[in-house]
């Protein structure tokens, strides 16, 4: 190869001249139009777009629903624990309470004066009220005239009422349990089926 011809165009080099003739069509010309691309273009494989946005929306929506359901369950539990008002606290139950029933004349249940002590226990009987169609509400009735210890304490009306209600409930519960216990212990008749 003649390097002078390659760099300076001096002299002759058949090989380089041959290459120049072959590549002359690609020689840059300022006025020439840009080359036209071939019609067929190879298709590039499209990568599937991650539907991230759609998935995240669904996830958030489902999570919100689950959270709302949990909150509802907690709320219902709180509602169930709401205390019920039992009666008018301004009229608590005391041994001297007047029992006034609708559509009935006012009658006073016989009460025991607990301030008087006696050797033999006194019994308090509830005088039956006139039997009409209206139902009666029975209240705390003591059989043995023992003064409740709570009465020796200074209690507010609400405390006294709450205590009386609790004692009434416990007394009924204990009497029923005692009855069951006695029946189980005695095994009174063959008709009684006892399962434990």
């Amino acid at each position: 190869m003649n390097e002078d011809y390659l760099w300076n165009k001096k002299g002759n080099d058949a090989e380089i001249e041959n290459l120049e003739n072959l590549l002359s069509q690609f020689r840059y010309q300022e006025t020439s139009a840009p080359k036209i691309l071939p019609e067929k273009v190879s298709e590039i494989e499209k990568t599937p777009k991650r539907r991230f946005f759609t998935f995240s929306f669904a996830f958030a929506f489902a999570s919100c629903i689950a959270f709302v359901l949990v909150l509802l369950g907690v709320w219902f539990q709180i509602l169930n624990k709401t205390p019920e008002t039992i009666a008018d606290l301004s009229n608590p139950i005391t041994p001297e309470t007047k029992i006034i029933l609708p559509n009935e004349t006012e009658k006073i249940i016989a009460t025991e004066d607990f301030s008087k002590t006696s050797e033999t226990p006194k019994f308090i009987k509830a005088k039956s009220l006139e039997q009409k169609n209206t139902p009666q509400k029975t209240i705390f009735i003591k059989k043995k005239g023992e003064k409740p210890k709570a009465e020796t304490l200074e209690l507010t009306k609400e405390e006294k009422f709450a205590y009386d209600q609790l004692m009434l409930a416990l007394s009924i519960t204990s009497s029923k349990l005692k009855m069951v216990k006695e029946k189980v212990a005695l095994n009174e008749t063959p008709e009684i089926l006892i399962r434990k």
């Binding site: 539907r51 998935f55 996830f59 489902a62 999570s63 689950a66 359901l69 949990v70 509802l72 369950g73 219902f76 539990q77 169930n80 709401t82 205390p83 019920e84 039992i86 509830a126 005088k127 039956s128 039997q131 139902p135 009666q136 029975t138 009735i141 059989k143 043995k144 210890k149 709570a150 304490l153 209690l155 609400e158 405390e159 006294k160 709450a162 205590y163 209600q165 609790l166 004692m167 009434l168 409930a169 416990l170 007394s171 009924i172 519960t173 204990s174 009497s175 029923k176 349990l177 005692k178 009855m179 069951v180 029946k183 008749t189 008709e191 009684i192 089926l193 006892i194 399962r195 434990k196």
Partner: protein, 187 residues
């Protein structure tokens, strides 16, 4: 697409488990007495007690104030009590209430969680007594006593732990007198 569906299934499963957990936790020992409300118009004697929440706390505080050993025992027996509900109806004549209403209450005691402690049947007055308890693990969470006779119905529902034996012993003692309603005979 497949991974998206997998994630969605996991989320739905999680939501379902959360709802189930809430539902299971919501199971309480509270019985429903509403179907007995009509007996108020038929019974000759009614006792209705509902004590829970702040009223019960107030009553417990009073028990603490009482300086007596037995009262303290009672206080200990009901220390964990959350509520106590009582309905007692007494009738003048036989057949004044519908036994199916009482059976409806008994059917509530057949639901999971309740276990029968005692079952007493007597031909005398057609008496049926059922005692059920509910436990959460090792701790008692509820007690139910249903007593039905020809002329009376009594339902007791206790929520929370309670010492049954102690309570039965305390009947008639100290501040828990026996209930006995006597009527004067009409002339």
């Amino acid at each position: 697409m497949k991974s998206y569906k997998k994630h969605l299934v996991k989320v739905i499963l999680f939501a379902f488990l959360a709802v189930s957990a809430v539902a299971v936790n919501a199971q309480t020992a509270r019985l429903q007495f509403e179907n007995l409300n009509y007996l108020e118009g038929k019974a000759s004697e009614i006792v209705e007690v509902n004590i829970d929440g702040k009223l019960l706390d107030l009553a417990k505080r009073v028990l603490v104030k009482v300086k007596d050993q037995d009262a303290k025992k009672v206080g200990e027996a009901i220390k964990g009590l959350e509520g106590i509900y009582v309905r007692v109806y007494k009738f003048e004549n036989t057949g004044e209430y519908n036994p199916s209403d009482i059976e409806q209450i008994r059917s509530q005691l057949k639901s999971p969680g309740w276990s029968q402690l005692a079952n007493v049947r007597s031909k005398k007055n057609n008496q049926k007594v059922d005692v059920f308890t509910m436990f959460s693990g090792d701790n008692m969470s509820g007690l139910a006593v249903v007593v039905s006779e020809d002329k009376s119905v009594a339902v007791v529902n206790v929520i929370g732990p309670i010492d049954i034996d102690l309570l039965a012993e305390m009947s008639g003692k100290l501040n828990i007198p026996e209930i006995d309603i006597e009527k004067e005979e009409k002339p």
